[in-house]
């Protein structure tokens, strides 16, 4: 069964057309990540799914039921917000149990579910504290706990990690991945961080300007991007783009090659002036200029390359991507 089906969903705020003909399916138990640059409509799409905004047109189905006219609390979803959105005047226990109380669950059920969720998230010692007495990471876990206790059919996460520092972000990312395995629930996760998208997702939906650019598994998108935008968005460092004319006289197309597919080769096709070198230990990132284009090469291991040098870079031709002037992928 499908957990969520969006059919031709559109959303406008007055004259501003924010979401354009969105068609997405989320299977049961799937972890789907919506990714795209800031302002592309990710949060708006999530809010339409949650019922916090009405779709201007199109159908939203959750678990097979049409929910366009169903209020958020009756949709069987739970949402975790970017800003945590904890109730400041309630302690952790009450924050987590409020929704269950609204559903008129019995005391025993409420207690059991709160206990289970707080155990899962290591929040047992904090149940009587108020949000202002918690650290950022703890607040985020309470926000997740508040979603878990409802046992929803579908979890919605709106950039839940963006307020955390790098180390905590990595831990919480793992926790969310574990949570997904433990609960076997369907999850939709919004982020503009491609690393989060690649590491967490069963399926990635790439959005740009309110349109779906491509849907697929992380590796499908990485190996087989449909267009220049997707190719440039996924992968870090990002794919290098340059006129194909650099290696092939008269070619009008744009050529793309990933930094990790470039290698040092005496007979290489590209001669590059090194501008900057990042020694990361395991890898060496070389930022260099080929004619008028800046490119990045990610070389495995340690290399004694210094600024100002000229290096020759090569690649296997089958690792190249070509795009036409519109940005669409061509062979």
């Amino acid at each position: 069964m499908t957990a969520l089906t969006l059919t031709n969903v559109n959303k406008s705020f007055g004259d501003v057309h924010v979401l354009k003909d969105i068609n997405i399916e989320v299977e049961d138990g799937e972890f789907v990540v919506f990714v795209g640059p800031s302002g592309c409509g990710k949060s708006t799409l999530l809010r339409v799914i949650a019922g916090l905004e009405d779709a201007t047109s199109g159908e939203v189905r959750i678990g097979g039921d049409l929910v366009n006219a169903t209020p958020p609390s009756k949709r069987g979803i739970a949402m975790v917000f970017q800003s945590y959105a904890l109730y400041p005047h309630l302690n952790v226990r009450k924050n987590m149990s409020l929704a269950l109380k609204q559903e008129k669950q019995s005391k025993a059920v409420i207690e059991e579910r709160v206990a289970k969720a707080s155990k899962m998230l290591n929040l047992e010692d904090y149940l009587d504290r108020y949000p202002s007495e918690l650290s950022g990471g703890q607040r985020q876990r309470v926000a997740i706990g508040r979603a878990i206790v409802r046992e929803p059919k579908l979890f919605l996460f709106d950039e839940p990690l963006s307020n955390l520092d790098a180390a905590l972000r990595m831990n919480t990312r793992l926790e969310i991945a574990n949570l997904h395995d433990a609960l076997a629930a369907s999850m939709i996760y919004v982020t503009h961080d491609q690393t989060e998208a690649m590491t967490l997702a069963d399926k990635i939906v790439v959005l740009r300007d309110g349109r779906v650019e491509q849907i697929g598994s992380p590796m499908e998108l990485y190996n087989n991007p449909a267009n220049q935008f997707v190719a440039g968005f996924l992968g870090s460092p990002a794919m290098n783009f340059m006129p194909a004319g650099y290696v092939n006289d008269g070619d009008e197309r744009t050529m793309g090659v990933r930094p990790e597919d470039l290698r040092l080769a005496d007979d290489g096709a590209l001669s590059a002036a090194v501008q900057h070198v990042e020694h990361l230990g395991g890898d060496t990132n070389v930022i260099a200029r080929v004619k008028n284009t800046q490119i990045t090469a990610r070389l495995f291991g340690q290399h004694a390359i210094s600024q100002g040098e000229t290096v020759t870079l090569g690649f296997s031709p089958e690792r190249l991507y070509y795009f036409d002037t519109e940005g669409a992928r061509v062979q």
Partner: protein, 279 residues
């Protein structure tokens, strides 16, 4: 800033300034209080002296108690002030929530219209108000005063509260919607507690003018059983003789309830509780 705070000279200067200000602000109250306990001659001979065995007198308080039904006036003032504040806060907050929270046609226009009242003094409409009250039979009832003061307080209340409600995080309200709280529950149980400091500010701003007002009680409710404290005290101020003992005693007693109300509201001004909601 921390350095400046630790410097003993700065601390001294700061406290000195604050104490000086407190003394200046409390001085008139102090003078009223001490003189209310003196006899008439002593008030004029040495206005600043404390009452001693010779000059001590309760004559002012006795006059006030005998003259008219002072406790009734007291009660009327309290009812009018508390009821007006209640309605100002309730309706003001509701209107502010609608303006801040919902997108509808004419939202901005409605906000401007409601704020217009800040610029137009309600007393300009006294004649029309009186005609309206006569027509509806509300003259000489406390309701007349309560309605007028509610109308008078609403514009500023809506203006201030809607500004504060806009600052309550959208995510928080949306989280409550997902959790199944109705719009009323969101208003009463989530937003109102969060804007409590603003509500207290509005209450304090409105309380003093209502309590002290002479204009509307005199025009709309001058009957004996609906007199407010301010109006009731006027009997002691005559064209030729003023019974200063009684006036000062009445004033001393009138200060008390406002003081109590103020203490109640100012405790709400302490924020603290709102931190940690988001981020």
């Amino acid at each position: 800033m921390n350095k400046a705070r630790k410097n003993p000279f700065n601390t001294l200067a700061m406290h000195g300034a604050l104490i000086l200000y407190t003394l200046i602000a409390l001085f008139p109250v102090f003078v009223i209080l001490i003189n209310s306990f003196k006899d008439r001659k002593a008030i004029f001979r040495e206005p600043l002296a404390l009452p001693d065995a010779e000059t001590f007198s309760m004559i002012g308080y006795q006059t006030v108690m005998k003259q008219g039904d002072f406790f009734l006036y007291f009660q009327n003032s309290l009812i009018v002030t508390v009821a007006s504040l209640f309605f100002v806060l309730l309706f003001g907050a509701m209107a502010a929530f609608a303006l801040a929270e919902y997108r509808f046609k004419g939202n901005t226009l409605m906000g401007l219209y409601l704020a217009l009242g800040i610029m137009i003094p309600i007393r300009i409409g006294t004649v029309a108000i009186l005609e309206m009250m006569v027509a509806s039979g509300l003259v000489n009832t406390l309701w007349a005063l309560i309605l007028v003061y509610t109308a008078q307080g609403l514009p500023l209340a809506v203006f201030i509260l809607s500004e504060f409600m806009r600052q309550v995080s959208d995510d928080l309200k949306n989280a409550a919607r997902v959790d199944g709280l109705s719009e009323y529950a969101i208003f009463f149980r989530l937003v109102l507690p969060l804007v409590r400091p603003a509500m207290a500010t509005v209450a304090v701003f409105n309380m003093i003018p209502i309590w002290n007002d002479l204009w509307f009680p005199l025009i709309l409710a001058p009957a004996e059983e609906t007199k407010t404290l301010t109006l009731g005290s006027q009997v002691f101020i005559g064209q030729f003789v003023t019974d200063w003992n009684a006036v000062l005693s009445a004033l001393s007693m009138a200060i008390l309830p406002v003081l109590i109300l103020y203490v109640i509201f100012s405790r709400q001004l302490i924020r603290g509780i709102t931190s940690g909601a988001v981020k």
